[in-house]
């Protein structure tokens, strides 16, 4: 088991490095960082001064290796835009994103898995149709629009919830629903499909034949097998939520890491973007790894491979 984990870990670090190097080169392709930094009001001379000041006139490889040497020591440098340490800037914003991501994925799992199971037990029933409707709507509805509708209904019309901001738990209710709802359809459809397939398999028939209770059949035998792909999917969704909740963060004015990443790209704030990309890719790697472990626990067949 240990060599396996170490191998995975080494691979993960290589993936993170590759991602960060590619993104570093892409940032240079997307526009002159000196011009972006100097701002819209700068003259040509201002831009040249900035280029020399920040060392953009040196070869890209030199700049990248310098960044890497400092990053491995935990020093992500200072944000070009905010003139503050990147580490504290991200720490401050990551908490918002982590809370939102955890709430979002919990909401999605807690609603989608039961719905998927029920839909699979009674295929083509009213419940199944309703679940289908929900998932189609969830896929079809852009999250910015859904978010704005919630704001109009619950924030303005009913006045129950604050429209935007992050100063209390009540501020997180609407963003959680929007973010979770986006991940819900895929999880639900996968649960339903997995359950349908498993429920028709021989070992379920065997379980029923030996007189196991329906609840035991469903949850101990069927769901445990059907949920395996869902775990992997949820891990990917969680990674996506942490890095990609840009729209939700923007609509609800939550100043999280996703929005920070988006804005930093537009501002060519290289140190911030680089640190965020590294952190986001680490998230993906960690969650995928955790999903594998969880799957191995759920399905003994996977442990040997």
């Amino acid at each position: 088991m240990l060599p396996f984990i170490l191998k995975r870990l080494g691979l993960a670090i290589l993936v993170a490095l590759t991602v960060s190097f590619i993104s570093f080169s892409l940032l240079f392709l997307s526009g002159d960082p000196a011009a972006a930094l100097a701002g819209e009001t700068a003259s040509g001379e201002d831009i040249e001064a900035v280029r020399v000041l920040y060392g953009f006139d040196r070869p890209m490889l030199v700049q990248y290796s310098e960044w890497l040497m400092r990053a491995v020591r935990g020093d992500f440098g200072e944000s070009y835009y905010f003139k503050l340490p990147v580490a504290s800037l991200i720490a401050e914003r990551l908490s918002v994103t982590m809370i939102l991501g955890a709430c979002g994925i919990s909401f999605a799992l807690l609603t989608a898995v039961p719905l998927g199971v029920v839909a699979a037990i009674r295929p083509n029933s009213i419940v199944d149709r309703f679940a289908l409707f929900l998932s189609v709507a969830g896929q079809a509805m852009p999250s910015f629009w859904f978010g704005l509708i919630l704001i109009v209904v619950f924030g303005i019309k009913l006045g129950w919830l604050p429209p935007s901001g992050a100063s209390s738990w009540r501020h997180f209710i609407m963003p959680t629903v929007v973010l979770g709802y986006y991940a819900m359809p895929a999880i639900m459809r996968l649960t339903r499909a997995g359950m349908l397939e498993v429920l028709n398999s021989d070992y379920i028939r065997t379980a029923r034949a030996k007189g196991a209770g329906e609840g035991r059949v469903l949850f101990k035998h069927a769901l445990r097998n059907a949920i395996i792909p869902v775990v992997s999917l949820a891990a990917v969704q969680m990674g996506f939520m942490l890095g990609g909740s840009i729209v939700v963060e923007s609509v609800f004015a939550l100043h999280g890491a996703g929005y920070l990443a988006w804005e930093s790209i537009a501002r060519n704030d290289l140190p911030t973007v680089q640190a965020l990309i590294l952190i986001f890719s680490m998230f993906y790697i960690v969650f995928t790894f955790l999903a594998d472990v969880l799957n191995a626990w759920l399905d003994p067949r996977m442990r040997s491979s």
Binding site: A36, G39, K83
Partner: protein
Amino acid sequence: MKTTFLKSTALTLALSLAAGGAALADKANDTLKVAYTKELENVDSFFNSSREGVVLQRAVWDGLIYRDPNTNEYKGNLATSWEWIDDKTLELKLREGVTFHNGAPFNADDVVATVNFVAKEENGVKTQRNVNWMDRAEKVDDYTVRIYTKKVFPAAIEFLSGPVSMYPADYYAEVGPSGMGLKPVGTGPYMVSEVVPGQHFVLKKNENYHDSPKGQPTIGTIDIRTIPDVNTQLAELFSGSIDLIWQVPSDQAEKLASMGDRFTVSNESTMRVGYLAMDAAGRSSMDPNPYKDLKVRQAVNHAIDRQALVDNLLKGKSKVVWTACFPSQFGCAQDVAQYAYDPEKAKALLAEAGYPDGFTTDFYAYRNRDYAEAISSYLNAVGIKTDFKMLQYSALRELNMKGEAPLSFQTWGSYSINDASAMVSQFFKHGSLDSTRDDQVLEALNVADSATDPDTRIEYYGKALRRIADMAFWAPMFSYNTNYVMTKEVNYTPTPDEVLRFTDMTWN
């Protein structure tokens, strides 16, 4: 753009239906809540370059001089009088009895320390042009200072009344730009009580504000929150948790104005000018390069119905502009050649230039895709087929510096400096962004930029601007405007320089 439009329409509709919910502005708490769209990088005004930063700068700090935004008259602020001792030396008498928010008294040492810090290039002030005309400052006595300029610089008074604020010497030496950004200290009408970088700023009225031409603050607390999505800003406005927003798109402003009794919508022009830059110098790889031909540039000018763009897209107080500067700027002569909308004449000019069937050109823009697309369709109509490319600002800037964009839609806001040099001298003095490189323009601008006599400046800026228009080096388009939306409880008349002045705001 399409999704933004859909979003706006959907939300404004939904909001109209939902309107009528209880509005609770914070007049009772004497707290005015304002929304910013953009995350401000640093409150230290020398280390940001955004509109949001200028708004805070004018509230928290003072300059030596103040320009009345309505009459454009210069008045003493931290200085009470000033005088050019020679071409490059400005002597200022300072106001006595002024204190900074931290209690430190203001005197000549603060002016000297501030000027000497910002004028040094290695200290990295973000917009160098605002400060790099100053060489140094010297103290004459406690309330008299001299500022020495590097070259003859007649626009000094304008800069001293705009971007150059006075900082407390001891405090700034101790905390530096990042400390100033987190805990700003100035002499201005508002003190900063809370800063969450980029997200939240709280200002409190300065009870001891000196007798400044800015006027005394009346509203007790200004609470500014950054809300990036304009639709969310509107929702907050409707729910009563925001009192004032600005830079509201014109379609939404119109709908809000039509809703009658809840909101006041004010429109005011800004100094930003939109224009087409053409590669008249022939720096791009386009071969043959049609823009080297005067007739082609004139054809581009004749092809576009600027008034229709203003009436249908920009609306509000936007105006058609014919000059390479904003009309209110000092020296921005308006008696220049104008190119009336005449597509037939444009086609004829193209034919004369040897392009009877028009030509195909790359066309770049970095903002206002809708404006650029409208311009593009006018050009297509006369036979100039555009390959339209929307780029990030920095990417287009890079192309322009290398001279690789044959035709681009550009805008320039002059940093709210009311002097033609802030625009025409930026782009026509053979710098990297100069797409024309005309010697006659350069000569005229050199005289205008370094003359101290106002009449000479007017004469030579006029010469340069007329030459630019005659040669159709640019196709100037229009000026921009901005919409301010506030609840009926707020009383505020915006100024043409797009700076929110909290001292001018009162409760109704």
